[in-house]
């Protein structure tokens, strides 16, 4: 048992370590209300800008709020919304990609040209424009990020469906009378899913980074909600006296994004899936 575990650890060291780190982070986010020593939004001017202590493991910010608790609660927002963006973009991309690839013809043309038009605009700039017109706020940012992200999934899936469609077993399934829906469910979706998971792992890092960039610019999560990008935005005025205010949230963003990128890289190498 232990030997087997050692074997896995040795051959897939990066995958195991990254997955462990991510598990810990997800658990931290999930159990933030129990783990956090203080209320993340409780203002306490008496204890403002404290150094790290037993009560406040990372110290306090300019409003006397516990930085450690805010980081924990921030993980909920970053990881939670990144998951939401990933899942939504994936679902939309999966549906549109399968429709385009399977039906083909003018439907395919229409959907793919729509994608071309979207991809002609640099994606983050599109999100900024979207937020500018539809209004600032977390909802709009998340929606905008989904809107630019589904295209990539749809393209990859469409390509895979096109090549799968030519396989003999799909023809066999058709001849034996399986409905289109059964073929999708039983043969096509299980075949495209592994590559999508790899793509998604890399995408999670992208989503977390961009979500926090938007909050940093003041367009996404609004204070006092604890979010890493918004924390850096609030902490930047104290850079001369208390750099800790922005160092911790920045480190967290970096840790999460590095882990997702490393994991995605290792997975794509392991399963021979090409990155886009």
């Amino acid at each position: 048992m232990i030997a087997m575990f050692r074997g896995i650890l040795k051959s897939q060291k990066v995958i195991v370590i990254c997955s462990l780190i991510l598990c810990v982070l997800f658990l931290m986010a999930l159990f933030a209300p129990w783990l956090a020593p203080n209320d993340p939004t409780a203002v306490n001017f008496v204890d403002k800008l404290q150094r790290p202590s037993l009560d406040y493991p990372f110290g306090t910010d300019h409003l006397g709020r516990c930085i450690f608790s805010r980081i924990l609660y921030g993980a909920r927002i970053s990881l939670g919304y990144a998951m939401l963006i990933f899942m939504s973009a994936l679902s939309i991309g999966l549906i549109i990609g399968i429709i385009a690839g399977y039906i083909g013809g003018w439907v395919d043309q229409l959907l793919m040209r729509l994608g071309d038009g979207l991809m002609a605009i640099p994606s983050l700039l599109f999100v900024l424009g979207f937020v500018g017109i539809w209004g600032t706020g977390l909802k709009q940012v998340v929606f905008g990020l989904i809107l630019v992200q589904w295209v990539y999934y749809a393209r990859v899936i469409r390509g895979m469906v096109l090549s799968l469609k030519e396989q003999n077993y799909i023809t066999a399934a058709k001849i034996s009378g399986s409905s289109t829906w059964t073929i999708m469910q039983k043969h096509i979706i299980p075949n495209v899913l592994p590559s999508l998971v790899v793509m998604g792992t890399l995408e999670m890092g992208w989503a977390i980074m961009n979500l926090s960039s938007m909050s940093f610019l003041g367009l996404g999560v609004q204070p006092p909600t604890p979010e890493w990008g918004a924390m850096i935005h609030e902490g930047k005025s104290y850079i001369r006296t208390n750099p800790a205010l922005m160092v911790y949230p920045g480190l967290m963003i970096m840790l999460v994004v590095v882990t997702f990128n490393l994991l995605g890289e290792a997975l794509s190498e392991r399963y021979g899936i090409k990155r886009r």
Partner: protein, 314 residues
């Protein structure tokens, strides 16, 4: 060669039209009434008559396609409308702020190329050496570090602690150093990685073996043949990444109070200055598409196999 370029230009036009249609629909589908947005941005308390008059002026009573057509004709003449806030033409606002942004972008591109070419190239030639590990470390960190945070770290160490560079603003070359390095960081990561992979791939090519068997000095093979072909994916990366560079500049300009277009764009977002937002998004799309075209043409000069492939396809 000529036909290839022409073909590429022709494929760009419908894509650009689609991008304009998407942007235009995004604005028209939004719950915001442009006339109301105009008066809010201009801080004017509008009466119903004023709103009605403004709606007529914007042509909002006309059918969607006619509105779109009119907007398109204006866009082709570089007329993006008039800013709601400053009442100046958007094109004028953009061009007056562009030099600062271009300065920043070129600075960071230069830094990125100067740093990543030697590192990526050496990492590719000497796989698993110290420099190779360093390059991989660099490309992971560079791709994962949030640029706004990196900018503040630089400010903290180099401006506050060491007092080497000014904190914010524009002026001497010293002002340019920190923002361009910040903006260059993700590019360094990407280019190093692309060049390394491309060098490794090229070393497997028969032409390297052929050159070696002919007894050509290793240094000449690497410097003259491999490097020349290996930079090709890097140039594609450059074109693909120009969009990221433009958005990256928005964030870096916000951090360093760089008076370029990015900062103005953020202000426009907060004010819901619709013509400015639309103008910049479309301009970015145009620049992005044209730069990709230029990149393709440059690549064809560097690697003649590409146009040959194109000709074979024809």
């Amino acid at each position: 060669m000529g036909t290839y370029v022409l073909k590429r230009i022709i494929t760009i036009i419908p894509i650009f039209l689609l991008a304009t249609l998407l942007t235009f629909s995004m604005i028209r589908l939004s719950p915001v009434d442009p006339a109301e947005a105009y008066f809010t941005a201009a801080h004017i308390q509008a009466t119903d008559e004023m709103l009605e008059q403004k709606r007529n002026e914007f042509g909002l009573d006309q059918p969607f396609l006619i509105q779109y057509g009119n907007a398109l004709i204006k866009i082709c003449q570089f007329d993006f409308g008039i800013s709601y806030v400053t009442n100046k033409p958007v094109w004028e606002e953009i061009t007056s702020r562009m030099p600062a942004t271009i300065q920043l972008t070129i600075g960071s591109l230069l830094i990125a190329i100067i740093v990543s070419v030697p590192i990526g190239f050496l990492a590719g030639i000497k796989k698993n050496s110290v420099i190779d590990h360093f390059s991989r470390f660099l490309s992971f960190i560079g791709a994962s570090i949030p640029s706004f945070w990196l900018g503040y770290l630089f400010i903290f160490f180099f401006s506050v602690k060491l007092d080497l560079f000014p904190v914010q603003g524009i002026g001497t070359w010293k002002h340019l150093v920190l923002p361009s390095i910040t903006l260059a960081f993700p590019l360094i990561a990407l280019y190093t990685r692309l060049l390394r992979a491309s060098v490794l791939e090229n070393l497997q090519e028969p032409y390297v073996l052929f050159a070696r068997t002919r007894g050509i000095h290793e240094r000449i093979i690497m410097g003259k043949h491999v490097l020349r072909i290996a930079v090709s994916p890097m140039i594609t990366g450059l074109g693909m990444n120009l969009g990221n560079l433009m958005t990256g500049a928005i964030i870096v300009e916000a951090v360093f109070s760089w008076p370029g277009f990015g900062r103005y764009f953020i202000e426009a977002i907060f004010n819901r200055d619709v013509p400015v937002i639309q103008g910049y998004v479309l301009l970015a799309a145009g620049i992005f598409l044209i730069s990709n075209l230029i990149v393709d043409v440059i690549q064809m000069y560097i690697d003649p196999r590409i146009s040959r492939k194109g000709r074979q396809l024809q």
